[in-house]
């Protein structure tokens, strides 16, 4: 991971992707909300990028909600993002896949981020995919930003620290 200057967001105003939302964009940067224990799944194949901010590992908790808000669950988020990316960038071997977020509380019962990340990785395998980059864990709530045009993924930490993944 390199520390570098951030994207010039005054020129490219990013589109905010909420918790449980997913978004695919051509050129316009995508920015997650503050992730806490949640995991931002990012696909990028310039000039296309996709982002889903996954809140829970498994849609079996509520199948109906997974059809309304597919980005909320790891399994439905991967399927939906994969489908959307294929339509706009049909060569998966050129995609860069990243996982950001997954902050943890000290107690094992609250290690939600780890569970979500593992579930995403399992789902990606079903499509013959795997993450190439990740910035997971820790006690911080991170924000992910992806620029479809450059393919650059930036992680913002509280206090304004920016890192390029």
């Amino acid at each position: 991971m390199n520390i570098s200057t951030p994207l010039d967001l005054s020129v490219q105003k990013p589109q905010l992707v909420g918790m449980g939302d997913f978004q695919i964009s051509r050129n316009t940067p995508l920015k997650s909300v503050s992730l806490g224990g949640c995991v931002s799944l990012i696909f990028v194949a310039p000039p296309i990028a996709g982002m889903a901010n996954v809140v829970l590992p498994d849609s079996s908790l509520d199948r109906q909600k997974s059809t309304i808000i597919p980005g909320f669950f790891a399994d439905s988020a991967v399927a939906k993002l994969h489908e959307g990316m294929l339509a706009l960038a049909p060569e998966p071997q050129t995609w860069c896949i990243a996982l950001v977020g997954g902050g943890q509380l000290a107690h094992p019962r609250f290690r939600l981020g780890e569970k979500i990340a593992n579930a995403i990785i399992q789902q990606l395998k079903l499509f013959g995919l795997q993450p190439h980059k990740q910035d997971l864990g820790g006690n911080e709530s991170k924000i992910a930003v992806v620029s479809p045009s450059s393919g650059e993924i930036t992680v913002e930490r509280p206090g304004g620290l920016l890192q390029i993944l």
Binding site: S34, G36, L56, D58, A106, F110, L112, N139, P158, G159
Partner: protein, 289 residues
Amino acid sequence: MNEQTALIVKKISDLPPLSASTLAIINMLSADHFHMKELVNLIQQDVSLSTLCLKTVNSAAFGLSKPVDTIQRAVTFLGSQKLTELALKTSVGKIVKVRLAGYGAMEMDLWEHSLKSAIAARLIGPNIDPNLNADLAYALALTHDIGKVVFSALLEVKVRELQKAQGQQTNFLAIESDLFQCNHAEVGAMLAREWNLPQVFIDVIAHHHTPSLCPAPHRSLALVVHLADLLAMLSGTGTGVDSLYYELDPLALDLIERDARWHEEEIWKLILNLNYEFNLVLQNEAMAS
């Protein structure tokens, strides 16, 4: 008085006081019983709260076929919980909707975290204590982090020490106490005292990270707010550099070890409902404005 205490006292005295009507509504809700007529009279005396009540109840979110033009009818539709939220929003809302540079929190972060914690408190409250006053739990969770508004100024002057300490330990409350000999929960309780809030607010705000140390009559409420705060942070609505940097209190550890309603999958379901209800509240707020 050292420089740091003087800064805290000055910051507290710089904040606007709670409106008389907000304080009266909070006192009535804390007392567990109130007369509707008395409540309506109080709201009518507060122009901004009256306006907000009518605006909210007549918004598309309520979907009423006929407009509501009296406070008495508005109160009936709003219910005590929404009313508490609106009363706190007109006074506390203005205070917490600020950028907390010391915490690296944006303008709306503390308000949204407080709101999400309040919704979480309502969801988990009855499981922890069936006799709990839900409106009070909601109001307590909405105000639990008020001390951060003041404490942020202290953190701003020790950014490097803070970053160094965060690399060494994982309990933000202990970091605050080590660096400043007090923490945001204690400062919040000082603020609650300054505002003449009921004792339950002073106790719960002071102990929202340490409910096992809270005086017995208010311990259940402190536990509810403690867990609600953690759920809000875990589901992504924190307040900056301190998000997830807190430890579970022994009382909370005991609860989640012995109570099946805190098994992992149940926590996931809670987070699902919490996010759903939180988004609904934000949407309604957007529609009302």
